[in-house]
Symmetry: C2
Subunit: 179 residues, 2 copies
C-alpha cells in the first residue's frame, strides 16, 4: 500500500450519449493508471440538497413519497435538486417550504456528500433546519407526498426494522446522533 | 395528512432509451394519483452489496479509489455490483476478498437499502464482516485501489471533516455506532 500512488483516470474524449428530460448520460474514454484504456458512463447531475428539519430536539420532519424506479413508497428526509447555478441554501429553503410547508429560522450546513460515486457526479449538500414555522406547503404540479412528524428514536428504529431504506435519509438520521 | 392515501404511479408504457456497457436507462409514461400523465426516466440496476469489514472491534477496512464521475479519489467501504441473479452474500464474500484480500468467518446482514430512489432502482445490501483473515487481493483487470485499516473513531472524524463524503459509506460507518 503506497499512500502517494496516483489512481487518476485521464479523459481521452467525451460524448453525450443520452439527453433525456431528467437524465443526462455521458460516455468518456479514459486512460487508466497502468496506461490501458477503458470506458466510463455516468450521469451528469446539477447537485441536490437534503434537509434535516427538527420540529423540536426529539422530532424530525419526514416525507412519504412514491418513487417510481423502486415501485413503492419511501420514507425520506426532504430533498430536492438544485436549479443550475443555484446556491444550495436557497434550494434547501425553497424545497423545505414547498414540500413540507415549514420555514426554518436557523440553518446549519453539515457537509457535501455523494450518493452514487460509481455512476453519477451528483453531490448532496446536507443541512439541519431548526426553529420551524408552518406557513403551508406548495407542491409542484405532479408532486404527491405526505409529511410526517416522527420522533427521532422512532425513525432510528425504522432504519433497523427496514421501514426506512433510503441511504441519504439513513445517513442524515444517524448524523443527528453525532452532532 | 391522510395515512391511507394512495400515491402510486401506474405504468402506461415503458421503453429502453439507452443501453450502455454500464448504464441501462428506461423511460416510462405513467399515470399520477390525480389522473394526469408524466414521464419517468430511471436506471435499471442489478443491485449491489456494501461490506463493513471489522479488523477488530475498533478498526474498519476502507478503500481509496478514483471515481471518474466525481474526478477525484473517494474513501469508501468495500462494495460491488451483483452478477445477475447472484445471492448478495456471495457477492459480498467475493468482493471483499477480491478488493481487500480479506476473507471473513462471520457475516451479519444489516439491511437492504436504496442509494438513488429518484432515478435508479438500485438496492444495496449491507453486511458486517468479522473474524478477518488476510488471503491476498485479486483485483479485476482495470481496477486500481488502495486498502486502508482505519480506527472507527478516526473514520467518524473523517465524515465530519468532509474527508469521507460517499453517502453509502457514511451510513455504514454511523450504523456501526448503533449496532
Amino acid at each position: 500500500m503506497t499512500k502517494a500512488r496516483d489512481l487518476t483516470e485521464h479523459r481521452i474524449d467525451s460524448e453525450a450519449v443520452f439527453d433525456g428530460k431528467l437524465l443526462h448520460v455521458r460516455r468518456d474514454n479514459v486512460r487508466l493508471p497502468d496506461g490501458s484504456h477503458a470506458t466510463r458512463e455516468y450521469i451528469v447531475h446539477p447537485g441536490a440538497v437534503l434537509i434535516i428539519p427538527l420540529l423540536d430536539a426529539q422530532t424530525v420532519i419526514l416525507e412519504r413519497q412514491f418513487r417510481y424506479p423502486g415501485q413503492r413508497n419511501f420514507i425520506e428526509l426532504p430533498a430536492g435538486k438544485k436549479e443550475p447555478g443555484e446556491d444550495a441554501l436557497l434550494t434547501a429553503q425553497r424545497e423545505l417550504e414547498e414540500e413540507t410547508g415549514y420555514r426554518a429560522a436557523t440553518w446549519q450546513k453539515l457537509a457535501t456528500t455523494h450518493p452514487s460515486v460509481g455512476y453519477s457526479n451528483e453531490h448532496i449538500d446536507y443541512f439541519v433546519a431548526r426553529e420551524l414555522t408552518y406557513v403551508g406547503a406548495r407542491l409542484d404540479e405532479g408532486e404527491f407526498l405526505e409529511v410526517l412528524a416522527v420522533k427521532i428514536d422512532e425513525a432510528l428504529a425504522w432504519i433497523k426494522q427496514g421501514t426506512i431504506t433510503d441511504i441519504k435519509t439513513i445517513a442524515g438520521l444517524f448524523w443527528l446522533t453525532h452532532l
